[in-house]
Symmetry: C2
């Protein structure tokens, strides 16, 4: 008589894996560490997941699904620069609030890139992030009543890179002042490619 179904077990293990990753890093997230964290016996692992790689794949998909487009701040009438700036800083607050989660995202991407079976997942992950970023930009345009003068896909990739790079850089040096200044500069750039209707 099972105390928990296989599905619930998978859920349990995936969440435990995420906690371990955040605490100790992806490299140290071993199957043993995960089952200990989840409080399930080691043997349970392999009738829930075929392998560690399969568990990690689940974790990556899970994290990706959580990262959905957030609501655009309604700011009609406000100056575009101020609107962009506050939207960016509200994203940035999320990074500052949970640095470890963001670091894990980068680690997982690189893990996936090195696993022959998961390189495609890494690609989908970034296509997803780019789509989310694109949606954000569209929402910001709608909220401020402007249109972008630069091709939206180009703007989205460029913007994703800026945020990705700033995040990575900040995770390393934790320099709030520099990060904030660079973020403001990006907001200024966005304002410069926005056209008032």
């Amino acid at each position: 008589m099972p105390r928990l179904s296989a599905d619930e077990r998978r859920e349990q293990l995936a969440e435990a894996a995420i906690r371990v990753m955040i605490r100790d890093g992806v490299a140290k997230t071993t199957t043993r560490a995960v089952v200990t964290e989840a409080g399930v016996p080691l043997g349970a692992f392999h009738y829930c997941f075929r392998s560690k790689e399969e568990l990690f794949q689940t974790v990556i998909e899970r994290i990706m699904e959580r990262n959905l487009p957030s609501e655009a701040v309604r700011t009609e009438g406000a100056a575009p620069y101020e609107a962009f700036r506050s939207t960016l800083h509200s994203y940035w607050d999320q990074v500052r609030a949970r640095p470890a989660e963001h670091l894990v995202t980068y680690e997982l991407t690189q893990y996936a890139l090195r696993q022959p079976g998961l390189t495609d997942l890494a690609r989908r992950q970034y296509r997803h992030y780019q789509a989310v970023n694109r949606a954000h930009l569209e929402a910001m345009a709608g909220a401020t009543g402007i249109t972008w003068t630069v091709d939206l896909d180009v703007l989205a990739r460029h913007g994703l890179s800026v945020l990705d790079g700033l995040t990575l850089n900040w995770l390393i040096d934790r320099d709030d002042a520099q990060a904030s200044a660079a973020l403001d500069e990006y907001a200024r750039y966005l304002a410069s490619v926005a056209h008032r209707d």
Copy 2:
């Protein structure tokens, strides 16, 4: 009678480690893989380096030192946008020519971030990259006869992020067209914050 001095051995092992990292990734760069690659017996490892972490520290410093500011393209008189664009694309050619090296850089940074003894090295690594980027921007200004209208430190951090982010993104999806378009957009941005003297 030593066939090689300890210093030469260290050199040999560090270079072998870099080759293995590029070929198999940092995670799979074990002491055994390194000594095999270098053609030295396993025992030799530990009287050259106290630990694997010490070897990796050496490797990180070595790679950092190689990454020095390259010469600015002399382009006096040319339109700033075209000059920035060609400088950026010549950097980009380096990324495209040696993707694995660049991936290793990111992996090493994350390795360092997770090693209590090496977090400070990661910080120095990024301070170094930012200084290099700053020097590039100064050289570009000198070569085109313009001045930047944005604080140089801010511009450097922002620019480092753009290039870092674009590189990471391209390493994942290898989309040359999108990368190139985003790079051009960054050149256009640089031109917009350049002031003709």
